[in-house]
Symmetry: C2
Subunit: 351 residues, 2 copies
């Protein structure tokens, strides 16, 4: 059983998942390269994954764990958290622990190993978004879980160990500190101004559009003002909406469109970089008013968004020591470059 | 001039240093490998670095920027912050900025390119520690700076771009959020208990020594209870001491000894992994009582330490989305393995 441990000084949690572990000398050697033969996520290899949780298929007579699916969700074979068990908290002196209860799922986005998200048909991307929503809703019904995060690691530098197109979903028994900080900032802003801080940010950025990368009827992509990484962007729904699962059909189509166009621009400008993509939506609101994890005005003050960070730079001692990040590309230059209206000579001074 | 920008939601700062930047297509190609010919840090190549700030040399007649030095400090040629200029704060709507004033120095730890820290004579390592202290004290006299961090990136995976043995020093015009959080946690513990939280932690760990890696007369190496990374450790002075610069000669010798022995164990167990090493000491206490950066009881409640993280795992979307880390090696197994008393079969379950 994995274990959650809290740092007594910095108050953040870590997951100690030694079941996933390797022997120490294994770290010295590189992981073998990913091959397209025998990929467990490929159509036809359904028997090499744990039994599927759900699958989207146009074949209504399809049996589970057989070919013929469009999008398929399976438990992560090397899960960081255990789905079975009771959530128990304990402490020894300064230290706090929890049993490592949670869910860790893989969303296999296509049976085709070489499919690339930006080139997928838009209605297939909508199916992937629908799958995320189905899984979030199902996991929220489990009262042990407080927060669900959907993320996509693309490329080895971003932590992906398989190149087959996939995303992951993790359900946690606690609201992470980083998410709590976002929620608290949004709530404080709302208390002062009775406005959503994200709506304010979007309005401010659209009025002075040097960091606007692209836009459609329902979404805007903004180059992050205080970007930690070159070409880091956020995708926001233009209309206030606190929860990812509330998107209507038209919004899903618009999100599929802008996401594919954005990823295609990353390919054009940066040559298909490794990236991490994270969906930031509201936590599960099981606690009652008065509980520190009860977020009363969240419907009005929070605004779901997607974070996307190409992984072009390395994180080193300075970043770990301070939480500061050094970004060698200005967010305005990155936006101009992604829009395609930057003169190459303006983009950066050679090092 | 670089710029400091604050994230309006998460309140952390980033350094936008576009002067260090590369053209976008440069990110697509890998950096050329480090060669030992024409290394700017090697003895004899003093004219290829910016003019030196200080150098330790046994030759009292040595002129600056000539050979004959033991440890040499130069400004970073690709500095993230500018040493010249005035600290100015500004804001646009939700956004806050500061001019990117600070210092960014390189401590060249030996004229010998192939010298490795764990194999250096102990009295040479003491000279390196003395150099850190001299630079911290000098930078603290600059009233524009609020915090100074010394760090060492070893290996490409840890962000090192040159393999010549070196550390770096950055002086910042603000106390980073991460450091403030540590200081606040320490102060709060002291207010409740009138004891240093780090002293309490050391005492608790020594009493139940499953996470004690090694110890000498003045220092202890602890495997971190809530380690974010496999084999992450902290080095603490056993006697309460709030500031790195207060070490006496005997402590410096003991630190040199334990640091070299620890790095040698990393080599034995992990095959010389890339790592980040960070010295965490007190900020510059220029503000007066009442200022949020005035840390009144810091002498009693803070305890300087060194953080050391081998970089064996990758940081992916889950970590970025939540601040949670997944560590596949238990800290107790890591400690046993570094002590050399672990049965290999006990160390980890194969993935």
């Amino acid at each position: 059983m994995p274990e959650l441990r809290k740092d007594p000084i910095l108050d953040h949690w870590v997951i100690i998942a030694a079941e996933r572990g390797r022997r120490p000398h294994d770290f010295a050697t590189k992981r073998e390269p990913d091959t397209t033969t025998n990929c467990p996520f490929c159509g036809g290899n359904e028997d090499t994954t744990p039994p599927e949780i759900i699958a989207l298929s146009s074949d209504l007579g399809r049996r589970p764990d057989t070919p013929g699916w469009d999008v398929r969700v399976v438990p992560n074979k090397f899960a960081a958290l255990a789905i079975e068990g009771e959530l128990k908290r304990s402490g020894i002196g300064l230290f706090d622990c929890m049993t490592g209860i949670g869910a860790h799922e893989v969303v296999i986005e296509s049976p085709d190993h070489s499919a690339e998200l930006p080139a997928m048909p838009r209605d297939h991307v909508v199916k992937i978004l629908d799958t995320f929503i189905q899984r979030i809703l199902d996991l929220r019904s489990d009262k042990r879980f407080r927060h669900i995060v959907v993320f996509r690691n693309y490329g080895s530098a971003a932590g992906a160990s398989l190149s087959h197109p996939h995303s992951q979903i993790i359900a946690l028994p606690t609201v992470p500190k980083l998410v709590s900080e976002k929620l608290t900032a949004a709530r404080n802003h709302y208390r002062h101004k009775e406005r959503c801080i994200f709506c304010d940010l979007i309005e401010q950025e659209l009025a002075m559009p040097e960091r606007v990368v692209m836009q459609n009827a329902h979404f805007v992509v903004l180059s992050v003002f205080a970007a930690r990484f070159p070409f880091e962007v956020n995708i926001f729904p233009l209309e206030h909406q606190h929860d990812f699962v509330l998107m209507n059909r038209e919004q899903k189509e618009a999100l599929a469109d802008i996401l594919c166009r954005l990823l295609a621009r990353y390919e054009d400008v940066l040559g298909g970089p490794a990236y991490n993509m994270m969906i930031q939506t509201v936590p599960n609101m099981t606690p009652r008013p008065g509980h520190p994890e009860y977020w009363g005005t969240i419907k009005y003050d929070y605004h779901w968004h997607i974070e996307l960070m190409p992984r072009l730079t390395k994180i080193a001692g300075f970043e770990w020591a301070t939480g500061f990040y050094i970004n060698p590309v200005s967010p305005e230059q990155a936006a101009a470059s992604l829009r395609g209206d930057a003169d190459e000579a303006d983009i950066a001074v050679p090092a």
